[in-house]
């Protein structure tokens, strides 16, 4: 677009960015390469790049806000009415205990990092989800991009493979999306069925990058030939308009992606041994986790899988012991040990979190309500310290007692592991420079 340029507080000319984008596209650079250029220029402006310890992230999202006091940070010595019904068990990590309903996670605890001192101040689903998934406290004035969108903008991608894939639209798309980065950095969404029984054929595909089931590659190629004969109207202006040239470049890239079988293969879960599929769990969540691992193998940088039901205002212990924890235990432990067995855990991070914790005090409906002042998250792989529990909460689990940290800090640490300086500044749609994580600092103790 003409003079599509915003003066910014940096004295940085946004048009230059666009020039790099559009211009490079014309020279036949792939989108990832264009992104790399942008990332380099961003990094250049922000000094030295931090060292890179991981390439990818799988975010395991526990929608609704898990009662982590009954999972990762039990309080057996707290008074009745707070301590809950579950017993702590020992794990493979010395000195770390977790819930008795997470026995498989206990076995892989020597590979995980439990952060027990993370907290924030928003006990409301929507904004808390935004906080946790963006690493920035939400403000009405600016929509922060999700971490996945930041990764797809700043990390080097793989040709023919999307950088950011999400198995569900978190909170109807109000979280997990690209915010001020613009539509190009939204997640590619997975649709279809993962083959819930763990045996059947999965019909998963990433929306928008794979042909619909009854649309063959041959048909696409035929139609594209027909299209070529109808698409010459703007010939006279082709060479001059960025818009036209840009769209032509995207056309070629789109064909490359649709013809590439990398993503399609990633979703072909029948390639896996039946034992592996069973190990991940014979439900959609388990099979999604397996597909997530396969996507990472094919070059996807950020995958979000999600499981709901954690908003346990009533009968929390029943839900947790019968369904929630066993399901998570199965799948998360399978994911971590599978990544480890395949030698992928060193370069892949797993981040398991929900929007907040739940009240230490059990309510009259034997439930726990929203509580953001204390919660726990689980990290694994990448550059994270293994078999480690970071920080503590007070005796009643009300608030962080030692090493308190915020979602921004955890996000910053994740990005440091990716080799992306968390203090990198990007421009908002109005040209205002915004630091990736406004208030975050890297938590050195979390790093191996």
């Amino acid at each position: 677009m003409a003079a599509n340029f915003a003066s910014d507080c940096e004295g940085f000319n946004r048009r230059n960015f666009l020039r790099i984008g559009a211009g490079a596209g014309l020279l036949g650079l792939s989108l990832p390469e264009i992104l790399k250029l942008e990332a380099q220029s961003a990094a250049k402006r922000n000094g030295v790049q931090s060292s890179k310890k991981a390439d990818s992230i799988i975010m395991v999202w526990l929608a609704g806000g898990p009662a982590t006091i009954d999972m990762w940070d039990l309080k057996p010595d707290a008074p009745e009415g707070i301590r809950g019904e579950f017993k702590p068990i020992n794990t493979s990590a010395a000195g770390i205990q977790i819930s008795e309903h997470l026995p498989k996670m206990a076995k892989v605890a020597d590979k995980t990092t439990i952060v027990r001192s993370i907290y924030h101040s928003i006990p409301s689903h929507g904004p808390a989800t935004v906080f946790m998934t963006t690493g920035n406290k939400p403000t009405p004035a600016l929509q922060y991009p999700s971490m996945g969108s930041l990764v797809s903008k700043l990390a080097k991608g793989e040709e023919g493979v999307p950088s950011y894939v999400s198995f569900s639209d978190i909170r109807g798309g109000t979280a997990g999306s690209s915010g001020y980065l613009g539509t190009a950095y939204n997640p590619f969404l997975v649709e279809g069925n993962a083959g819930g029984d763990g045996k059947g054929k999965a019909t998963l595909k990433v929306r928008g990058i794979q042909l619909p089931t009854d649309f063959t590659l041959e048909e696409l190629n035929n139609r594209d030939k027909l299209l070529a004969g109808f698409d010459s109207t703007f010939r006279e202006v082709d060479k001059k308009a960025d818009l036209i040239q840009g769209f032509d470049a995207f056309h070629q890239q789109a064909l490359d992606i649709l013809r590439s079988d990398k993503t399609r293969k990633a979703f072909d879960l029948t390639q896996e041994k039946p034992e592996t599929r069973a190990r991940y769990g014979a439900d959609n969540f388990g099979q999604s986790a397996l597909a997530a691992r396969r996507l990472v193998e094919s070059g996807v940088r950020f995958v979000t899988i999600s499981i709901g039901g954690w908003d346990t205002h009533s009968k929390t212990f029943e839900s947790h012991s019968k369904k929630l924890q066993p399901t998570l235990d199965n799948t998360l432990s399978a994911l971590i040990s599978d990544l480890s067995d395949r030698g992928m855990l060193d370069r892949t991070m797993v981040y398991c979190a929900g929007e907040f914790g739940r009240t230490p005090k059990v309510n009259k409906n034997v439930g726990r309500d929203h509580w953001a002042r204390s919660m726990a998250v689980v990290l694994a792989g990448g550059g994270f310290k293994r078999g480690y529990a970071h920080g503590t909460t007070d005796g009643q689990g009300m608030a962080a007692a030692t090493d308190p940290c915020l979602p921004d800090d955890v996000s910053s640490t994740i990005f440091a592991n990716l080799g992306i300086d968390p203090k990198t500044e990007l421009n908002s749609s109005t040209g205002r420079p915004i630091q990736l994580f406004r208030e975050g600092t890297v938590v050195d103790k979390l790093l191996a």
Partner: protein, 803 residues
């Protein structure tokens, strides 16, 4: 580490000795352009040099955290603080009075000791001499010595004759102390379009190709734009053709083009015009019959008639209700609880705007209804509660249209989350003035006039605003809410609909009122003030927002009319006269100021008649030009010499795809049945189409401005058109237009013509007919050939871009 530092010091001294500058004698400093500075002043010269050298950028020491412990004010707008940072912090190590060349400030800037920012200038350079002379003087600081009265750049408009010429800019500054100086060497320069003209760091401008752009000159946060006009190089004896003019728009656009030797393209053909204007005005495609009728019509007045017809079309009001929903921030997720009614309230918001556009209510009246909204509009609390009860009752059944009858749009102010004063300031400045204020929240706006005090004074205009129950209505509302809570089922308080109202408190800000924002430096109360306008006296019982509104609509208001005519212009040309549309600032001047002024004046004179403004624009020859460029105007992208090919709004993309395939989209429960995309009020929908909305840039409307709507093409858009199920269903459906076309046209070529008309709004040319014929013979059957053809047509650039 320490030894390294010492070693560098030794090196520094050596270098300095080499250049013979180790003495502490005063010396005049000669700048590269010959200007001589007799006595270096910190504020005037050193801070200027910081700016020119990039030291005080936000990415360097101008950042709020500073860099490596050294913080400068962003762009040097707080010279006094910079003086303290430089001379007093770090135990004074930044300045060494005994051995000036040993000052950390110089060692770092000259790269003689570790400096992440690298070497900014070398030893012995004029910059070195400048800083050194100041240190030799004893590093004096005189607060306010550099206060700027005005900046003047010559020439104000660069009269290039052709591409490839060079000219030096000269920057003069008048200081408040009465002196003036040539500070060209201490200024920063940048171009808005380096394709047209580029500028060096010393202010040398080079013309590259025909067109025009602005060179932005900045000296210590004061900005001065200079227009650079580069005419096309023409052969001797070249005579500019005479171009017919319909109205003043043509006169002003063409006279500028003439100065640039750029010739406008010819008139668009009838079919081209009809497609463009139908998309622009009512957000859909003309039908094949519309096209045939229009093209065959012999009436010389037919374009005027079509313009009148379309401007009265109900979908025209829907389209502008969508645009005004962006501008006023109709964000479904931010609307007050209960959550289950938010979608319907977003629709009420859209309907309220739509009704007014349909009635051609004048723009000032519409804004008044938004800006000065209250919930009761003067009604008694009892009547209000009755009304709310009725509305809530109706809302449980479905979408409600009666809200449109309410005089004011109180939904604009009814947010679930707390909205701070400064956010109201930012929202209203962007919505009704086209000004982006947010930079001034934390520091003086770097490229505009706004200070933090301006920002906060403006925010204080909204101190009276309250949301809850006013003292006079409290009893009635509390009683009603107690009743509602008693009868509520379920436990989630968020889902209980309670009665609340937007009202005005009697709090008077600035007079010990606890609510107002205070001065950033002195922390004293700030009197509310219109942005760039008069103080607004707060009086109990008088709406300060109304006073703001009265100021906005005065004929000499620089923003109100201009920002809106620019938005309308931007909609019809794809590029604003000020572009981006909501970035009215000194550093982003209009490409054609005379045109913007004339449109604004005409708009004000008409009493803010929106439809008249639109008609004037649509009737102009400029709007009626073809998109096909000529030799002279092929690179023009801001002077409107031809129709610019441009993307469509996300909602229009969805509607146009429906029109072209003969299908109807289902927006789910978030929209009234059978609505078109431009009729949907909610900022999010739950159906499959939300994906298309997102990738084509429908904004979530968290900010009240146009800036969130992303119109840039992106890869997912192309993938959507080629392969997304949501669209492929439409292409392959048994119920789409293919069946009808094939049934009505047994001849393949006739059917092809029909398909071209209903997608590209034109007939196929011979080459295209032949291309189809070849494809047809290879296809399995007639239906397949046409399904493939429909797919191919929807995937052309001609289809997806308006032109």
């Amino acid at each position: 580490m320490k030894s390294c530092y010492q070693w560098k010091q030794v090196l520094a001294v050596c270098v300095v000795v080499l250049f013979g500058l180790h003495d502490t004698a005063r010396a005049e400093v000669q700048l590269p352009d010959g200007t001589v500075i007799k006595t270096v002043d910190f504020e005037k010269h050193i801070v200027g040099l910081f700016g020119r050298s990039g030291c005080n950028l936000g990415s360097c020491h101008g950042s709020f955290q500073g860099k490596n412990g050294f913080r400068l004010s962003l762009f040097g707008y707080e010279a006094e603080k910079d003086g303290v940072s430089v001379s007093r912090e770090m135990n004074g190590r930044r300045i060494d009075l005994n051995n000036p060349d040993n000052s950390l400030l110089l060692l770092k800037a000259m790269g003689l000791t570790e400096h992440a920012g690298g070497r900014k200038f070398s030893a012995g350079s004029w910059q070195h001499k400048l800083i050194k002379d100041w240190i030799v003087q004893g590093a004096p600081l005189t607060t306010g010595s550099g206060e700027i009265k005005s900046l003047d750049v010559t020439p104000k408009e660069i009269p290039f004759n052709k591409p490839g010429e060079k000219i030096n800019l000269k920057v003069m500054v008048s200081f408040a102390d009465g002196t003036s100086e040539n500070i060209t060497a201490l200024s920063e320069f940048r171009t808005l379009d380096d394709g047209v003209a580029e500028v060096s760091s010393s202010g040398l401008v080079t013309s590259n190709r025909a067109g025009d752009t602005s060179i932005i000159v900045a000296y210590r946060g004061t900005v001065f734009p200079v227009r650079a006009m580069v005419p096309l190089d023409v052969k001797p004896g070249y005579k500019y053709p005479s171009v017919p003019e319909v109205n003043y728009i043509d006169k002003l656009v063409f006279s500028k083009l003439k100065r640039l030797n750029i010739e406008p393209s010819g008139l668009s053909g009838d079919a081209e015009f009809l497609r463009r204007i139908t998309i622009d005005v009512i957000g859909t495609l003309p039908s094949p019959n519309d096209i045939r009728t229009f093209v065959a019509d012999k009436d010389t007045n037919k374009r005027t008639k079509k313009i009148d017809e379309l401007l009265k079309h109900p979908m025209h009001a829907a389209l502008w209700a969508t645009k005004l929903s962006d501008i006023t921030g109709n964000n479904t997720d931010a609307i007050e609880n209960p959550q289950n009614l938010r979608v319907k309230k977003s629709q009420m918001w859209h309907d309220w705007l739509r009704k007014r556009v349909a009635e051609n209510m004048t723009y000032d009246k519409i804004v008044e209804g938004v800006l000065c909204a209250t919930s009761r509009d003067g009604e008694s609390p009892e009547d209000y509660v009755v009304k709310v009860n009725k509305l809530d009752e109706e809302l449980t059944k479905g979408f409600v249209e009666s809200y449109s009858e309410k005089p004011t749009l109180d939904l604009f102010w009814r947010k679930q989350g707390a909205v701070t004063l400064d956010q109201w300031g930012e929202k209203t400045a962007a919505a009704f003035m086209g000004v982006r204020l947010e930079c001034a929240q934390c520091h003086k706006h770097p490229f505009d006039r706004w200070t933090q005090a301006d920002y906060r004074s403006y925010a204080n205009v909204f101190t009276q605003l309250a949301y809850g129950a006013s003292p006079e209505a409290k009893k009635v509302i509390d009683a009603e809410n107690a009743e509602r809570k008693k009868n509520a089922t379920g436990t989630n308080n968020n889902n209980i609909s309670v009665v609340k109202e937007v009202y005005l408190t009697s709090v008077v800000a600035g007079k010990g009122g606890a609510k107002g924002l205070t001065h950033p430096e002195t922390n004293l109360p700030l009197v509310p003030k219109a942005l760039g306008g008069p103080e607004i006296k707060m009086e109990a019982g008088v709406d300060a927002r109304r006073k703001l509104f009265e100021w906005l609509k005065t004929p000499d208001n620089p923003y109100f009319a201009r920002s809106f005519v620019n938005r309308v212009w931007g909609h019809y040309f794809g590029v604003g006269i000020v572009d981006p549309l909501d970035d009215f600032s000194i550093a982003n001047p209009p490409s054609n100021p005379a045109l913007l002024d004339a449109l604004a004046k005409d708009f004000i004179d008409s009493g803010f008649d929106i439809r008249k403004l639109e008609k004037t624009i649509l009737l102009s020859r400029v709007y009626n030009l073809t998109y096909v460029p000529n030799e002279t105007n092929q690179f023009d992208d801001n002077n409107f010499s031809h129709c610019f090919i441009r993307p469509m709004m996300a909602e229009v993309v969805v509607d146009v795809l429906c029109a072209a395939t003969g299908m109807v989209e289902n927006f789910g429960a978030e929209a009234p049945k059978n609505a078109r995309a431009i009729e949907v009020g909610a900022s999010r929908v739950n159906s499959s189409i939300s994906y298309a909305f997102r990738i084509f840039g429908r904004p979530p409307r968290t900010a009240a401005c146009d800036c969130e709507r992303s119109m840039e093409p992106a890869l997912p858009q192309k993938l959507y058109l080629m392969a997304d199920t949501n669209l492929q269903i439409k292409v392959e459906s048994q119920g789409n237009m293919i069946k009808k076309i094939l049934a009505e046209n047994s001849d393949d070529q006739k059917a092809l013509e029909e398909m071209f008309l209903s997608t590209l709004s034109r007939l196929p040319n011979d080459r295209e007919k032949k291309h189809f014929e070849e494809y047809r013979t290879k296809s399995a059957d007639r239906k397949t050939a046409f399904v493939d053809t429909l797919w191919a047509l929807l995937n052309t650039k001609e289809f997806i871009f308006n032109h």
